[in-house]
Symmetry: D3
């Protein structure tokens, strides 16, 4: 009897846009892609069939304090192998609704900020060219800027932004204007975002001087501080947020530090007194039915949580984001 | 200007049997395969061209105390992305000498020992059928048994075995005969190994009763306790080991717990007073020129070293093993 | 003057069924038994006097992903030495209400699932024979099955089950039916549980396909998803649960992963968005007055939380369970 | 061109009572003082200008179980370099309202309890002599006693005390009366506190026998157990607390173990089921307008949370305390 | 069929002075005593039969910097459950040569140094009264002093002392004379040690002023600095040490910080550049045949190595010490 | 009695160039400066009296893989508070030989490489202007370049360089020439180093292609691979190194990754098979008597070793470097 006949049920070989099941292959086995999806590089002809692309941007060149978010995509892929198929609350199975794939990582340059931004935009341009909706795993929050540069070709987008910080600062260290505290100021200045359709939720933490908030509010950005969120409740705030962005194209940016550091310690700029993961899940679910064009989950810094617990929170939130993106994508057809 | 023109240098797209370079793509980027080699499943037609296959066996069903080696292959893949191309001492570049690939993980079953052993042997049968020389990342040490079942088709093999333990026990817990303390007793009983051509190096640690050593010596196994290794020196011991196995087909099994736990704490059964990584590297280099048919690196248990330091030792030792395997393979032509 | 006269106040010597006090012996001192209770093996004649036995089942042979729960009992014993005597809310002192003891660990076999199940049931048979009510520290969730086999001699039991998962799956890896995802399907099939009197609380996390939930509901199991728990509130849900199980004999199974992983990260299959420890404590307190016949606390995996924080949550929850068991036991007289 | 002309913008050189900004010097740079304030030893003539002094008391000689709080001040200083200038909710900038400085650490003696208490009181006497209001970073909770000895010169103080424990025990280990479980019993006995104006909030955890609570209540101490806090809500409880202490001089003692260990695991005597950091922040903010004379934040034990997360919670709570102290100090003028 | 007949092979029930075997009960199971020996409190009549008693002294009241050694005995008991029966090099089985037992922990007082010293001496007096040879697990190094007070009744002892520090200091913090830096100065002053028969091996690390070394040498203590040890080699140094202590009664004190912190990081006062575990094992083996009266292994501080690796080194060294003590005890008969 | 009379012995108040003693103030107390030396900013007039300045450069903008060395100086200061006064082998007390001070951190910019390099050189220019010899704590290895730019004003320096890597690469990521892999190529190109007087010791690890070594050797750099070091022995290699650099001005650069990662895991680019700390200490001691002009200790990355063990190795090596610098400085007079 030949070996091939003795038990050759190989792993991960047959191509499909479905994840490998934990019933067939244990979750700790196999090369880790996002949610155990097939890896489809942009140069692969099958990329043309992809509806939603999960992409890593392993870069933290905008980080002003504690680095490490460059290691985020890899730890997120690892953790995401524990994700199963179906959403427990809505019953949505994104992998059956649309074709999902892991597109790999965008090219980056840890040694030069501007070159890195250009490389990332280049990659997302190619994603957009192929009609793929991107779900990104950062990286620090500055990666949202080059993504928006590719996504906002047809005009400024709305944005629902979960975070402890506004990221609306002007500059650091005597005028350096590209850091993870500045992406949305740049995006508004560059007309990538329509400030009237930007809602920021969960803002808190000690402030430098409040200039970021003042500037944002002057542009029309709606900033929901954590106290307001807790007092009004999620449903009320999310209803307002939905109304703000309306049915125009909208991006979702989820900074893991919006969640309380007890739940997500592995991040560079934690602020105590945040929302829980249960609250985070409910808020993202409330995005269902919006005209979403992409989303990112950023600022997971593995060296600050080697246990991987934060990455597990991040992978779980990526699945929540994927479900609402899949619904949006499915509606486009 | 289209996005594709703005900066589309994609990552990991063009097929070759060479690893991705850290000069091009930062080491923390990309989906982690062993040493950043291409992933070539056995069902891929390109598998027929592979000379040496790096394979994970994510299974620890034979572990009698501290489990976790099932998570070894993934952490080893992650760590191995820091491996470069060329051996610093010998100048060998295994990736240029022969065609290497990551074959993925063998199928396993965490819920049943015998089923798992059958699945693993089935996979290695298919590897052998394709003429691929396997370099395995465990898993606990019981995985060596199903591998040897596939490799020793044409007769018993010699083996050079680095370890703190003989793994020549008979049974545990009232007669259970398949654990990570028994693989080589089974292999000798099954005629997969020629005991006269088996050398065990680094044995130490408190003993149950010494029956394992007595049995092994009675079969002709050469057991080099750590004291003898330290007193005679590596060169002398390795010269004897080379002479013992001669130019007949020989397997190499490297249990990470052979190395002192200060260097490699992430393992299930550490024993203090072991050899250093420098000594480990030198010993493996002394295998160059033997008629090697495969090798494994086992017993890395990530939960006991979340820092990944042990996996880095393991990945570095896998590179040392790969270099001597590549030389052997290259000579076959 | 002889030494014995100079200061011989020995530790832990005089027999009683009370724990050693932290006022007398610092909490870090002494050999760690559950809650510093005396160790009374079943073969000790004093076992006949024990009302509630605290038992470890150090086994995780049913674990399909991240192992380590076999180390749970030891870490729980260590953490439990910080437990004092009296419940802060109810004023109950279980150690004065009934006679408690640490019965040691049930015998197990890490190398064979069926043999392990038989050994565990054998031990619990002996516990039941002696009229001892068991409070178990796991081990993975499959240990509930052999316990129920011993406890349900006189007919199927009701069960209140706190968990993120239903553990009502049918099989894994091509038909393997005994894993930590299947115990209660087996228990219902074996008539150990009356599904109409089973309530599961806290269920969440991505699903394979929902077959477990459908099967359970078809049998009559009441499954309270986390959203329902959060929306209705604990008191309402617990009132329903009490009504469901009524005054017939009822078992309590508490999987630590029911609690949110921010509170209890040291477990094999964490799911974000769970309940807090405060909520967990309140829910268990609501079990007071039921006809309880035993309880378990399972799935603490020390390698995934070396800090011991999860074990401290577990030990604290075991005390909560002990208080409601002691009340039930006291009523039997 | 001389070096000094090439780029000499030195760090931390010019004296002012303002912290160094993270816009100028990255947060990870510089010698860590509390909140990046200037270090002004009591012997420095500038000490006479200080309004509020931040002081470390690196001592844990009163700890009966898990030590390490002696390392608290250093880790708190490190974490506190992430604090910015302005309170996000109230808009208060304590550093502009009053003159703040890091006074360094009080002298201690790890080898003798009574000598340590005397040294600490001596230091705080000097602080009080200079008219400085102290905000202390412990150390274990026994450090509150020598501080109160210095602060209560003109008569017993009121106290709002956040904690999981009453710290009203009488003695340990056969009569040892100075431990971290006894400071406030001693303080009431020594007439440093007016028990009718003492409110304890968050008390929970298993009890020895409840004697501490009975004694406290007999003296008139108001003890708010965690269940009452959760059921009535923070606002109601804090309103009562404010009324109790009135406008007489009041001290604030914040034991980090009042906060749930999911948020603050790095402490010696954790008790599950506590309040969140968001709740802690809101409660401290409710102290605004009281006649506060000082505050402490104690029981952070770095060896039990090497990640520094607990210290970050502590530093953030110190900022909350500083804001209400600054308001109180500012009103004195 | 009754439960007791179905599989009742209980654990740890039958009394014997042999450890439980890992072949019968997995190493992670059971209540952890030293080396899985029976727990025999001094008040148990069987204590009279004990030849060598393994004792914990969970106390670190003499620690001047990083505390935590009070938690040492518990972590050492846990780690020691991985010890088997027979010495791999000498073939000695201490458990068969003499009767060994775990005597539990000596009573201590974390709140008072002098009271703690008195309690410890009282316990060891009772040990000596029963003719038991003690092998102690600390605790910080000050615990050697009260042990020597009990052991040196008939005159000063010789001592072989492995350590990075001389522990011959006079006092700290303005005259405090009982710390873990002073035990052997006190012991020499109290005539518990004969300085001419004291050898200290491995001394290194930056010095205060060298007064400790000068004082020791003036008394006749032989101090072997690490450089001398490395240059002369172990065999030569140990031969000299044996000659120094001769055949008079000799104590062995092993401070874990003698071993390099790469091997044993979990200690309060690490000094780089130490000896390896292999060297430590060889040195202790060279004590065979001396007239040994007891030994201790001190300064393991679990909070500084939660992985337990240092405790595993310590437990392994305790086994080495036990083997040479057993030989000495066996010769007395 | 006033407070000031009750016990006012303040800490760290009186100015001197000596460290605070651990006999007076416990090592865990006080604001952490390098080796507890006084903090003397360059703008302080006392800076003119400083002979050797200990300086932090908290920057890792040149790191191509795992970042975090920016946090090195702070963790090194913390660890260095355990350093005492006198060298145990040579008896040198650097603090008495010359005037030492902590000069604080050089200004940096985490958001721009070239700006950061300019700021660092500006700071060191000012140091050199004041006649201060710098001992630097990095930071990644690129920080050596701006330091050399300030130190090599009068001509190229010799260098003894301990490292696993040559840091002689040309560029990364398509031509980026300023990374931590390129500083000494740039320094040789800029005539800051005389390649004939550069010795690199400990080089190892897998290679890209060896171009760095070839280029270096072509310039005349002497590269001692680890195998040569181990085979010839330290004394022989160091004798050659001393001869190479002769009595001309020489810099010392010590990359912590030269030491084996078992000893120093907290670094970005570990390579197994390195030298021990004992060997490192001996090698640095062999530098005594050379004409040294400065030294650095770089590449400690705290996020990869939160235990601080690597920083303790680093602080201990800084003391070794300080001793040989102090001798050199003392000779200048």
């Amino acid at each position: 009897m030949l070996g091939a006949e003795r038990g050759l049920k190989m792993t991960g070989d047959d191509f499909s846009f479905e994840p490998v099941s934990g019933f067939d292959l244990p979750r700790f086995a196999g090369i880790p892609t996002f949610m155990r999806l097939p890896h489809v590089p942009l140069t692969d002809p099958r990329a043309a069939q992809v509806d939603i692309g999960l992409i890593g941007v392993p870069w933290d060149g905008g980080t002003t304090n504690r680095p490490g978010a460059r290691h985020g995509p890899r730890q997120l892929r690892d953790a995401s192998t524990m994700i199963r198929f179906v959403h427990p609350h809505t019953g949505i199975s994104p992998f059956r609704l649309v074709r999902c794939a892991d597109l790999g990582d965008a090219p980056v340059n840890p040694a030069d900020v501007q070159d890195a931004l250009a490389r990332i935009t280049g990659f997302y341009d190619a994603v957009v060219d192929r009609g793929i909706m991107p779900l990104t795993a950062g990286g620090d929050h500055l990666v949202s800027l080059p993504i928006l540069r590719a996504l906002a070709r047809s005009g400024p987008l709305g944005m629902i932004h979960f975070d402890a910080h506004t990221d609306l600062f002007d500059g650091y260290f005597g005028g350096f204007r590209y850091t993870h505290g500045t992406p949305f100021r740049r995006a508004i200045e560059e007309d990538l975002l329509d400030p009237e359709r930007v809602v920021q939720i969960g803002i808190r933490g000690t402030m430098y001087d409040g200039e970021d908030i003042e500037w944002g509010q002057a542009q029309g950005v709606r900033i929901v501080m954590i106290e307001e969120l807790m007092e009004r409740g999620l449903d009320d705030v999310m209803a307002e947020a939905r109304e703000r962005v309306g049915q125009e194209p909208t991006y979702v940016s989820f900074d893991i530090d919006g969640i309380d550091p007890a739940y997500a310690p592995g991040t560079g700029t934690p602020e105590i007194g945040g929302f829980t993961t249960f609250q985070a899940q409910r808020m993202v679910r409330k995005l269902n039915g919006l005209n979403l064009v992409g989303a990112d989950l950023v600022e997971i810094s593995p060296p600050f949580d080697p246990s991987g617990g934060t990455a597990w929170v991040g992978a779980s939130m990526m699945f929540e984001l994927l479900c609402v993106l899949a619904t949006a994508r499915d509606e486009i057809g």
